[in-house]
């Protein structure tokens, strides 16, 4: 009689929590942002056993952890992983989950949950996380059987990173984390309805695009975040080199095509360049690649690119004809499409000389500009200077949301993909600092600068502690105008300048009513230099234009985390501007 002996490993019982963490390691995760609590303690205990393979970073707020995970994901293309406990911990992740969904960022979000026996009883720190997150995740799981953990984790990583990436939530009840089991890490996935790999470009579609390019006289490429997600920048560049088609990018697409190129039209849309918006308006062929015709890009959508034949290339079928009816949709991986396209593409039959000349003229007439003679420091100038002074380094820029975000998009030169991190779809203030943390952790050799506003940074300022304690030397260029600048701009343009809770100093100050005659140095609030020093940061303030260059260099060269508080006026408006829902004909230049 023979005895069959199973391999020792398959007989070893481990906890559900160990299966979760082992799964992370098996999926190549090397850093997790995790804030503990009652319902996630077994997971944290397990993390201590994997210290050598997996770095655990403790943020100071769950939202900070989630945006740090995004920063990691946006700069690497690999899924960012964040973990929180049940209830409030989990809910603090919600904004960042929705943010990742709108910007198509791969994330695996782990949350502790109350034990299965008390789910539904309004137990302490219980919230129905899956219910809350249905509409804002790519997919979601509530694990109710520990034997499912390994399979669910496989599915979570697969779904988060394939097709159009997005956040996947795995909600893990505490008793499931504590269950002892023999895991099967090779359990097959059960995803009969999920097959992004079957979205392939067909030869006749390529032929149609080739023909459309050949007969075009005024072609434009409108490239978005999908080009970056697909790692297709090289292919995009090749397409441009072979055809001479100029490229404009969305906020998400910046860096997909180098800002140094003559054929780069920079950003389009509401605060995009005059020349990009003119070019799209006049185009007879629009190659829309990895974009979604967002309202901030199109303005009045019916008149967007109304003279052009529109080709829309995207991996997500639900984007086709969602906002704009297009003539030739191609649902496939962008890199694959561009690879096929460059094999057979030819330049337009008619010379693009006139088109290039026209565009060059628009560029000369209306470049992004600001008053270079202004005696103080304009926010645009500070960004342009940072761009100039960091040009020789591998620099990653993150931003908050508002005027400083748009100016960064306009005045910082992005030459490569994954160097520009912006909460673009959701527009979440407070994104900049935590996103910079994730970027710096993933790229310790790079210079990571959060260009932030005084409103935005205060929303996640607690992450300064994370930078200090975890030794993550990010830099902050704070454009401090004491106001919520973008809302102020809209108040000025559309509400007769009536200040409605957009001044960030004390409410009795005349500026709170728009009646001030300026904000003196003694009035500035809060004192970001003191705050930063309290967190153990290097901190400096600058108000004189002549001091800016040396202050920026000091910021860049500071050994640890450092902030430069730049005192800027609040009267500046982001221009050009196409007001919401309007067309290129309504473009405000100055």
């Amino acid at each position: 009689m023979t005895t069959v002996t199973r391999p020792h490993t398959s007989e070893t019982f481990v906890s559900g929590a160990d299966v979760v963490i082992e799964s992370l390691v098996r999926h190549g995760v090397d850093v997790i942002f995790a804030y503990p609590g009652g319902a996630s303690m077994p997971l944290h205990q397990s993390l201590t056993r994997y210290r050598d393979q997996l770095r655990t970073i403790l943020p100071r707020h769950e939202q900070g952890g989630a945006f740090a995970a995004q920063g990691y994901a946006r700069t690497t293309g690999r899924p960012g992983v964040v973990m929180a406990t049940s209830g409030p911990g989990a809910l603090n992740l919600v904004t960042a989950i929705a943010d990742a969904r709108l910007d198509s960022i791969p994330m695996v979000v782990l949350t502790g949950q109350v034990g299965t026996s008390v789910i539904g009883t309004d137990a302490f720190q219980e919230t129905p996380m899956v219910e809350v997150c249905r509409g804002i995740t790519k997919h979601h799981y509530l694990v109710t059987d520990a034997n499912d953990i390994a399979r669910v984790m496989r599915e979570a990583f697969h779904i988060a990173t394939t097709g159009r990436p997005g956040p996947v939530l795995v909600d893990l009840p505490k008793n499931i984390q504590l269950t002892q089991l023999v895991p099967d890490y090779n359990a097959p996935m059960r995803l009969p309805g999920y097959h992004p790999e079957k979205r392939n470009v067909r030869p006749e579609q390529i032929a149609q695009v080739v023909a459309a390019i050949k007969r075009s006289k005024r072609p434009v490429i409108y490239a978005g975040g999908g080009v970056i997600t697909a790692n297709a920048s090289a292919q995009l560049r090749e397409l441009v080199e072979k055809t001479g088609i100029p490229v404009t990018m969305t906020l998400m697409g910046l860096g997909a095509f180098s800002a140094d190129e003559d054929l780069c039209l920079d950003m389009l849309g509401m605060h995009g360049s005059v020349y990009a918006n003119y070019a799209v308006d006049q185009a007879d062929l629009l190659l829309a690649i990895g974009v979604r015709f967002d309202d901030r890009v199109t303005g009045k959508v019916s008149e967007f690119a109304q003279h052009g034949f529109i080709v829309h290339i995207d991996i997500d079928p639900s984007e086709i004809n969602k906002n704009k009816i297009v003539h030739l949709p191609i649902v496939a991986d962008i890199k694959e499409v561009l690879q096929e396209l460059v094999k057979s593409v030819e330049p337009p039959t008619a010379s693009l000389h006139d088109w290039h000349t026209q565009i060059a003229q628009w560029k000369t007439e209306d470049p992004f500009s600001y008053d270079t003679t202004f005696p103080g420091i304009l926010p645009q100038h500070a960004i342009a200077e940072l761009s100039r002074l960091s040009a020789d380094r591998d620099t990653i820029v993150t931003v908050g949301v508002g005027q400083h975000q748009m100016w960064s998009a306009q005045f910082f030169k992005f030459r490569n993909p994954r160097k520009w991190l912006s909460s673009s779809g959701l527009g979440t203030m407070g994104f900049g600092l935590p996103a910079a943390i994730g970027a710096k952790v993933a790229h310790p050799e790079s210079l990571v600068v959060d260009i932030d506003g005084d409103g935005s940074i205060l929303m996640n300022i607690q992450e300064m502690a994370t930078c200090h304690c975890e030794q993550i030397p990010v830099k902050v260029l704070l454009l401090n105008n004491q106001h919520l600048g973008m809302v102020v701009q809209w108040e000025d343009r559309f509400f007769k300048g009536n200040r409605a809770h957009t001044y960030l100093g004390p409410v009795h100050h005349p500026e709170a009513f728009g009646k001030g005659d300026g904000i003196g140095p003694q009035d500035r609030y809060p004192d970001f230099v003191e705050i930063a020093k309290g967190f153990g940061w290097h901190a400096q303030s600058v108000s004189k234009k002549a001091d800016l260059e040396s202050a920026i260099l000091a910021l860049i060269n500071a050994p640890g985390p450092a902030i430069l508080d730049v005192q800027v006026p609040y009267q500046e408006h982001v221009l050009p501007m196409i007001p919401s829902g309007m067309t290129v004909r309504d473009l405000i230049k100055r």
């Binding site: 509409g135 097959h195 639900s318 086709i320 030739l328 191609i330 649902v331």
Partner: protein, 185 residues
């Protein structure tokens, strides 16, 4: 325009909530939604009836297919299909009143009286939306006490079936559902 969508979904908790939540949050109005297990317990079938132009319908279909647990969605309105709705209707007809009339009407509509009490009867009737609504209007003057309907279910006539479950489970999909250009180019 009226459309009938037939969706095959994974039979896992939360699918119905996910789908109905998506439809509501994107502002799509559904006339009717019916759901039940298929011959394979791993899958459920949902039948949607909705109104809208082709563009709306196209978006609904794509948004449904985007949900990970949705295996496949077919718009069967343009095909030769059977559609049914099941109704139970309780009518107030005490003994000595219009009971014969009810019985005759039910027979004409191929319905059945499934419960008889002293003060009323329950009629079971199945058929198309039009037929069911025709019956309701005829009965209404007699006094409807309670009415419940399943919502529309539908199936394409003949072979092949609407879809092969095994095929879907293997991940195979016909070319026309994963490519775009035919319908829009």
């Amino acid at each position: 325009m009226r459309h009938v969508l037939s969706a095959t979904v994974q039979n896992v908790p939360g699918v119905l909530a996910h789908i109905s939540g998506m439809l509501a949050s994107r502002g799509y109005n559904i006339d009717s939604l019916a759901v039940g297990e298929t011959e394979d317990r791993n899958f459920s079938r949902m039948t949607f009836v909705l109104r809208g132009d082709d563009r709306v319908l196209d978006q609904v279909r794509r948004q449904l297919e985007k949900i990970v647990t949705v295996v496949r969605v077919d718009d069967i309105s343009s095909r030769n299909y059977i559609e049914r709705d099941l109704m139970l209707i309780k009518v107030c007809v005490p003994i000595g009143t219009a009971r014969t009339e009810i019985k005759e009407l039910a027979e004409i509509f191929r319905g059945r009286i499934v419960d008889v009490a002293t003060d009323g009867v329950i009629v079971e009737i199945s058929g198309t939306e039009k037929k069911i609504e025709g019956f309701i209007e005829l009965i209404r003057p007699l006094g409807i006490v309670e009415l419940v309907r399943t919502g529309r279910i539908a199936m394409v006539r003949g072979n092949p079936p609407t879809r092969e479950l095994t095929e879907a489970a293997d991940g195979a999909r016909p070319a026309d559902s994963s490519s775009e250009s035919d319908s829009f180019a």
